[in-house]
């Protein structure tokens, strides 16, 4: 990942951050746009979660990783604390691999 890409992402990200504090009085966001932003972010996060849980490059990643992610997702849906969710994902996947599950 080249430095230029990092700087570009940082600049875009900062631009999104600074617009609100700079021109709150001049900018009003239509509620539909707010909803669309929120939905787009959720769609991307879930799509990325699904692909990074199930796939390794172009191929299936094996069962250990998606199993760990599934347990973590169920814990998160039950409002488990964030550290518990993260540790559960790692522990379940590590234990499954220890037991010989790829």
């Amino acid at each position: 990942m080249p430095l230029l890409a990092i700087v570009a992402l940082a600049a875009i990200t900062y631009a999104f951050r600074i617009v609100g504090p700079l021109c709150r009085d001049r900018v009003t966001l239509p509620p539909a746009a707010t909803l669309l932003f929120a939905d787009a972010a959720a769609v991307l996060l879930i799509a990325l979660a699904a692909t990074s849980a199930l796939m390794n490059g172009h191929d299936f990643a094996g069962w250990a990783r998606p199993a760990g992610v599934l347990v973590a997702g169920l814990l998160a849906a039950r409002r488990a604390p964030f550290p518990v969710v993260v540790l559960a994902a790692a522990c379940v996947t590590a234990l499954l691999r220890l037991a010989g599950v790829a």
Partner: protein
Amino acid sequence: MSSRGSTLVRDVALVCLADGLVGLSFGATAVAGGLPWWVPVAMSLLVFAGGSQIAAVGVVLAGGSAFAAVAAGAVLNTRLFPYGLAVADVVRPAQGSRSAGDDAGNGGAAGASRAAGAAGTAGAGPAIRRWLIRLLGAQVITDESVAFALRQTDPARRRVAFWACGLSLFGAWNVAVLLGVLAGSMVRNTNAFGLDATFPAVLIALALPALAELRTRVSAGTGAVVAVALTPVLPAGLPVLAALAGLATGWRPRRRTTNDPTPSPADRRRGNRAPSIDPITGER
């Protein structure tokens, strides 16, 4: 008052701990995946948006182009724009003589006192200092700091909560990523520790509060199926962007009802430009 302050300190510490774990795994995974040590470190300092950092690095580690990585990260960070509108009043230096330091004193958090002190004295300071505070404040706009700010109703407490969370998180995140980089460069096989499962787990935990609406769940479900189905055939990075097509499935029914002048209670709740549920604790 003091109980509220200690609650703030406890909650900020909890969030820092949680995000610290994520930062640890982010740094370790990036380095273990073959990226140079400065990539996660520079991203954490300059981008400072965990979800997009994980997304961008995930795209690159999967073999995607830098452009696809930046695009995925940028789309994720569009939500910072409405966040910025929501917390614009606390990012700006305090107007007038009211000092927020009184509120922070009881909190006892170093970050809170420092932030409130800086924000409080800025009212009388030169214009350039006010600008610097505003520019710095914008950098610490995150899911967490915005959620903390919006849980408070009193303007002074909103300010303290935002700065305490934002600055503490900036410190914790960058230290954790650095430690993760060190760990990742020492541990041969991070997969044995299941670290690769923490990325998707974190992404799901981040997305869950936004999935309250059926419309969003339909969009996200469709997008996930599209992305996974396209992963074997498309170059890495593109399937995730293609998932945005899932928005069409969730949004079509809504467009038909846009003539309805009264927004649903859920729309009004979400239309307040900020997460209605704390992304870390799950509290409403």
